[in-house]
């Protein structure tokens, strides 16, 4: 049984060309394997490299070496168009911050990932309405751009967008941060449902109770930090 996400020997360096060409080694020998239906939490102190590893899985940061297989595609070596196809069909990412075109209605922001995989407008919007209702964004806000929303509302729009398409693999960066108890419960249910349909999930949760409830394993990224392990 092949894992959905399989990481081996991954290293990351940052070269600061405009600051004396300083080379900062932030990660070495990272290993991670996530099966379908499994949720793995990345843990470690702030700055240990949790977000860096997650960003490398998404192809947002370039790996210096090693392999990052997501559904058989090596993100560390793939062409941009292969990574784009992977992000469209297979690999979802709920970041901590919502980044959207200003003035686009919330409903369209949430429906967009579905339109990108060819779902028709009516079905995509129906799914978006269902999710926005679940995360308790009042209907009177759906036609407005989320850029003017509060932090917690933006986070919930981001989550609705991230769960709109049933991605086989999901990356979640602090999905329950800045949520009240009832919305936190909704998000944890969404994660459990995604696991139940077989999604492989990598998450960063500072919320320990949430982590204990939805995660099957923890991986301490400090083990991959040069000079700390």
């Amino acid at each position: 049984m092949n894992a959905m996400i399989e990481i081996a020997g991954v290293a990351k360096t940052f070269t600061m060309h405009n600051q004396g060409s300083a080379v900062i080694r932030v990660m070495e020998g990272a290993e991670l394997s996530v099966a379908r239906g499994e949720c793995v939490a990345l843990i470690g102190a702030s700055g240990a490299g949790k977000s860096t590893l997650m960003r490398m899985i998404y192809g947002n940061y370039l790996a210096a070496s090693g392999s990052i297989l997501v559904d058989g595609v090596d993100v560390a070596k793939a062409e941009p168009r292969e990574i784009l196809a992977l992000r469209r069909e297979t690999l979802g990412y709920v970041s901590q911050f919502l980044r959207v075109v200003p003035r686009v209605a919330t409903l369209d922001v949430v429906a967009e990932p579905l339109l990108a995989v060819g779902v028709d407008v009516a079905a995509a919007q129906a799914r978006a309405r269902e999710l926005l209702t679940r995360v308790r964004i009042p209907e009177r806000l759906w036609s407005l751009s989320p850029t003017t929303f509060s932090g917690g509302e933006q986070q919930r729009v981001n989550i609705a967008r991230g769960f709109a398409h049933a991605y086989p693999a999901l990356l979640l960066d602090e999905p329950t941060a800045s949520l009240d108890a009832i919305n936190r419960e909704t998000v944890l249910s969404l994660i459990e449902e995604a696991k139940a349909r077989g999604a492989a999930i990598v998450g960063i949760f500072h919320d320990e109770a949430a982590r204990a409830r939805v995660c099957d394993r923890e991986v301490d990224v400090t083990a991959f930090t040069p000079g700390l392990a």
Binding site: F14, N18, R55, Y61, L62, P80, A116
Partner: protein
């Protein structure tokens, strides 16, 4: 020169550029540029003034003749053809049918003394449409798609705001169903609120029509929202390429790092 050029690949790129060079005397316009653009992809080209990005765009679109290199385009009839060596009439035909060019200044891409409807309809006539009623109907439909009210169809672009002129230029360019759109600073010179609306419009059209696009801009925020891939140019050379968010969030080249770190935060 009508033989198709074979490319061994599962998916054929729409555009394949190899070792493109353009010199102005001894000065470099752009040098050794190579890339593939696949159907549905949007590529941004960024760099400061004089970096060669507009020279490159004009060479790709057939407005400038490169000094060396190939620009292969996957034509509907004959597959891959080098647009640099094809005849001028053939290239012009591509410019009317399969390509579109959105200029920074709408007045460079519009006929300012012709009505809005005429600006759109003219392109349809250029590819053979003759029935007046149909042409007007399509023109009105396209004005609607770029959010210009039907009651403005007989007004000239001179009576339009800058943002409306730009939207009209986009309608005029897309009405013939092109497959590749070249854009030179499409949101340059517009108010930020107008820019946002235009960006949203372009994103929707790119997705719905399955367009490929090459967008030249110096605005990193525009490429982040519009482009899948990014090419960074400096002094006529490509210094970095990659996924847009990867290049902007984890830039590898010294110049890209400088460019990204120089953006003022709002």
């Amino acid at each position: 020169m009508t033989t198709a050029i074979e490319i061994p690949s599962a998916v054929t790129p729409l555009l394949r550029v190899t070792d493109l060079n353009k010199f102005y005397g001894t000065r470099i316009g752009c040098a050794d540029v190579s890339f593939d653009l696949y159907p549905g992809e949007v590529m941004g080209i960024v760099g400061e003034s004089g970096s060669g990005k507009s020279t490159l765009l004009n060479c790709l679109a057939g407005h400038l003749a490169p000094d060396a290199g190939q620009v292969l385009f996957d034509t509907r009839a004959e597959g891959m053809r080098d647009t640099v060596t094809m005849s001028e009439p053939e290239r012009r035909m591509l410019g009317r049918t399969d390509w579109a060019f959105v200029h920074q200044h709408a007045r460079d891409g519009l006929r300012m003394n012709v009505s809005a409807g005429g600006n759109v309809g003219e392109r349809l006539m250029a590819v053979g449409a003759r029935h007046y009623g149909n042409i007007r109907e399509v023109a009105v439909d396209w004005l609607g798609r770029v959010e210009i009210n039907e009651d403005r169809v007989d007004d000239r672009p001179t009576a339009f705001s800058g943002g409306m002129q730009q939207r009209l230029q986009i309608a005029r360019n897309l009405v013939t169903g092109p497959r590749l759109v070249f854009m030179d600073e499409p949101t340059g010179g517009l108010d930020v609120s107008v820019q946002a609306r235009l960006l949203d419009l372009l994103r929707g059209l790119v997705r719905e029509m399955g367009l490929s696009a090459i967008i030249v801009t110096h605005d990193l925020a525009v490429v982040r929202l519009l482009a899948d891939r990014l090419m960074v140019m400096k002094d006529g050379h490509v210094v970095e390429t990659g996924l847009t968010d990867q290049v902007l969030d984890d830039p590898q080249h010294a110049y890209t790092q400088l460019l990204v770190s120089s953006v003022l935060q709002v």
